[in-house]
Symmetry: D2
Subunit: 351 residues, 4 copies
């Protein structure tokens, strides 16, 4: 059957789910160009699975994707709708939509939730291919996720700027970056920006030890410190520090989390002038770095190729310098935590 359809023009659908992430449009463009290059056509469902459920789609031809590569966000928009929610028969809903829209197969771009739906659909025989997405870089089954490099660059640029203020005012600056379950952004940006201490979810911290470390630095001649902290870092024995902020729809802590808590604790316990900066959403919007655009493009091309090859139930992933395929189900495994050797590298500079 697939062979027969191959000889004709196939319609390939795309969707993006979950939070914003630099590189989404580059993935969309690459899937579409791959599909068009082989003589097929593409459509995009809007607002993630919601577009499939509601039948809200747009054509994706050359004109629609012109100028898309450097643009932030996703032209397909996004949501957290889950077709299986509230006991719905997601598989039936999606199959019917594909039948009525003449869709041959789907490329789903998203994180744990989006790919979880994709994996269920694949298990039920729906032709789906995934592209893993998380700014936090903790999705299992791939060496790196697109968007991460951009987030790290933005955080590093901010740390560079804050360094001069810290230096000029003998100040401790706490920079809270993204990373709910994993310290990849904090540790990588901390290494790149020359952090004097890095706090990550993988290593609950002792606030007294933190303060003692900062005081030790000042006693040996340093007059300022930059502390980089993941939003998901927690004090030992404590729960996630949210001081009322709660978490947003995509699970990220609202303003007023661990960064503000550390500012207060450090100021009180050490008497130093401490100041928190919460980078927040600035890290996940806007144009992607060259590195992320290349990764997003290569993943998109590979996902498109998998569809054209009838290689379903997989996601495109990075392995070393190569693009590979992993079973979609891998996206649901335990999050990939920070490599302890990277943290040990960063520790050399804490002195």
């Amino acid at each position: 059957m697939a062979q027969v359809r191959h000889s004709l023009s196939m319609r390939v659908a795309l969707l993006t789910g979950g939070g914003d992430c630099p590189g989404l449009n580059a993935v969309i463009r690459a899937v579409v160009r791959r599909v068009l290059a082989d003589g097929h056509e593409a459509i995009g469902y809007r607002r993630g699975w919601a577009g499939v459920v509601d039948g809200d789609s747009i054509p994706l031809g050359r004109a629609n994707i012109a100028g898309l590569l450097p643009r932030g966000g996703t032209i397909l928009l996004s949501s957290r709708t889950n077709p299986y929610a509230d006991g719905g028969d997601g598989t039936a809903i999606v199959k019917e939509r594909f039948a009525s829209d003449g869709v041959y197969a789907l490329v789903a771009i998203g994180g744990e939730d989006t790919l979880g739906v994709a994996a269920k659909l694949a298990a039920d025989g729906v032709p789906v291919v995934g592209v893993p997405k998380t700014i936090d870089n903790d999705l299992p089954g791939t060496d790196r996720t697109f968007g991460f490099d951009t987030a790290v660059q933005i955080a590093t640029d901010a740390i560079d700027r804050l360094h001069t203020t810290a230096e000029s005012h003998d100040r401790i600056i706490i920079v809270e970056v993204m990373g709910r379950h994993a310290g990849w952004i904090a540790c990588t940006a901390g290494l790149a920006g020359g952090a004097d201490l890095i706090l990550v979810p993988e290593r609950p911290f002792d606030i007294e030890a933190v303060c003692a470390h900062l005081q030790g630095r000042h006693q040996t001649g340093r007059s300022f410190s930059i502390v980089v902290v993941s939003e998901g870092a927690t004090p030992i024995g404590g729960e996630q520090v949210t001081s009322g902020g709660g978490t947003d729809a995509f699970g990220h802590a609202r303003l007023g989390g661990v960064g503000v808590w550390l500012e207060q604790q450090i100021a009180e316990r050490t008497g130093f002038d401490a100041r928190a900066v919460i980078l927040g959403h600035v890290q996940r919007g806007g144009t992607a770095t060259a590195t992320d655009r290349v990764l997003a493009t290569r993943l998109g091309l590979a996902a498109g190729r998998a569809v054209l090859d009838g290689n379903f139930g997989v996601m495109a992933s990075l392995r070393g310098t190569e693009i590979a395929y992993e079973p979609l189900i891998r996206a649901l495994e335990t999050p990939r935590v920070l490599d302890p050797r990277v943290y040990e590298d960063a520790e050399v500079f804490f002195g």
Copy 2:
């Protein structure tokens, strides 16, 4: 007397006071190069007036200022020490220090507080020249202050990034920028970033009108909004909204101010997904834009020239495209509020 000293090498002192501001090092470099070019020498007091009080100074020769132009912060460090505080005889303290250090005259770079001290000294016959500094752009007596252009560029870059997130998620994003008493940064960055609403200290806002405006936008087809707000903006009849944050040593509101308050109010009143981003200290650190480096350099050269000409009690300022001198005392006048025509220009885009 001055004539006699002119024929020999004079020692010119510099200091920087108040908060960090991109361009401080460019001013220092320019004053020093101007002074050295005429065969004189320069020293820098460290940590503002504290260095004068304590006698903490460093030489400023060619080697000390090499590579200084693109560097953020101030190599002279800063503080808020006031030699007249607690009834001290600031004039006597400064005169004695200058005598013992062989200082001919001083260039004081700073804001209202620093220049206020400079004006008092000048009134008492101490040879002082000022360079006005405030990131907020509200210092009277000059058309623009250095550092402002950099802050606006950083805020605009952030707004550009946030736009794509707002768009992709049908979201209202509130960007809180600096500006305690004046809306220059908010209005200029809002114009440059395409804000859909701008709230400034000069125009107390009605939270109901704000929400009605945002709802109106959504009813006429816009699916997202960017609101740019000065940290010093207040609701009508209300006091400054600090929700516990208080202000820091330099008078800027701590995290948890009007941006977070607006996030809560807008979300509750409209049901939209609202999210605050507080740019904070990122706006005032790091390398300066070309425009700020040029302004800082021209002001520094003019301040150095004033010292060499014996033209004391003045500050260098920008008038149109030219550098001029204003009496130091002008720095103490009422802050220069936002030009209402600039706000009216921005309003055209609120629809």
Copy 3:
């Protein structure tokens, strides 16, 4: 008549002529928003006057200008077509087009050539308003042109990067920037980037003095030099140095001009390792700085306002911190050369 038409919806046309310049799209957006805000409509002629001659126009509603502010280039495209060329009756051609398209008035955005046509039309009673544009900043009648700040920032960023290479390799780096008749970009970026010598069209240079200056620097301990040169700078008594490159359609020198000539001359005459970098078109493309976006937006709003007020034959211009109107004919006056005081400021740092 105009009064009658005012009560109805008027159709305002726009066009962009001449070379690319950051901020063009921001001007277009501002004119359109101003016009729409008053209940009128806008169209854009494509490829400058060519679109008027050929009747090639597009509607400019809210949807067409969404997301336009940060985008480089011009969505209206550009050309150097002149409706008066080859003895054509430009006025008649334009009047007929406006009549058939129902155009009430035109906003022409461009440089000397585009505004020259606009001035002729205005003299013949055609309702035209201009917005001056030149990346070189040498257009008379305004204190600054949009695009200039962006070009200076790009050149400054490049000089910053080249500084470290020059330093690490004891090298003389010659940076050729735009500026055919005026040294604004060279002198401003040179001031901002810390140039050790700046060569501009306004001051023909003596190649022997240039080499002696560089040798003098090296003899007094500097191990490298950055020379910033306008593409239009010439040796004394010489003609414009083009070494075969010629000039392009918009009058800018092709690669192989004065920068390459200086590289050869300096290397031969001094024995230093000299290297030319020609920034070229990178200076005039892409997103605009915040400062240029604000200037472009304010000029566009003022041009739109002039049309709505029936104030024709003028161009919007910057005077100090305010937007003013000047007769269109002023754009044809002698180019505005570099302010000698700015060059003198830069000279302080040549030592």
Copy 4:
């Protein structure tokens, strides 16, 4: 012996050789911090092997490396001096210098030439460890070299800017980037910037096919094209195109190479408006991207670790996401050419 010296403080030397490359200072900082953290000391020879030959070194303590991470260039300066040149007994020279300076071991940071000397020294029993460096990314034995990511980002930013100019003027823009023997920069930046054609040294090109491709694009509705070309790309059957430019001391083509040749050929053969931009040295100076800072830091730490472990004759390299060691001699193998799969990915977008 080594064991005895380990119990005392060891002096570790560093040097940097060859051309400028973003990340050099980050490597230096990391080696020094690693060495200091273990209680040893560090010195730096200036100007590569020349500093060893001449005995020109500086101490590298905490103060010397403060603020080094974001700085471009190399504080140790560089040269192409080879201690074995002209039949010199390099090994004896280096051994004597190390003995008189009390140097325990050396970390040599450089490319093929620098590491070639290091490999010879190691073969003669001199304790040396290497860190591979080339902006071109073609050094064998490592998955990526530091500086490459920065060069790609700078080239991508330039392509983004040039896109808008190409678009606004129906123009073909040829962007010449670094890459003498390998197309890594051209292909990666071309992928990231959305190039419509990429020419690399690994695939000699047919100028007629190039022109036919560009004409084909225009016949199917594209009005502009961006061609990215490595400086070392050559026409089929032709030699390297230098049109008189020659190569510089580090082997990179001078201005007037293949980019200018293509501009002329394309303009003549197709009649399109073609314009070359030669990015040149801007690609190799200035601050490094976060990714390059992290790679440089990790390689520097690993090199320092190798010295402390007595693991000589190796270079630190990247393998997937991990840092590994390779024999120094591997740096002399055939350059690592562009992965053909990456080029094939880029080809999808040429249509």
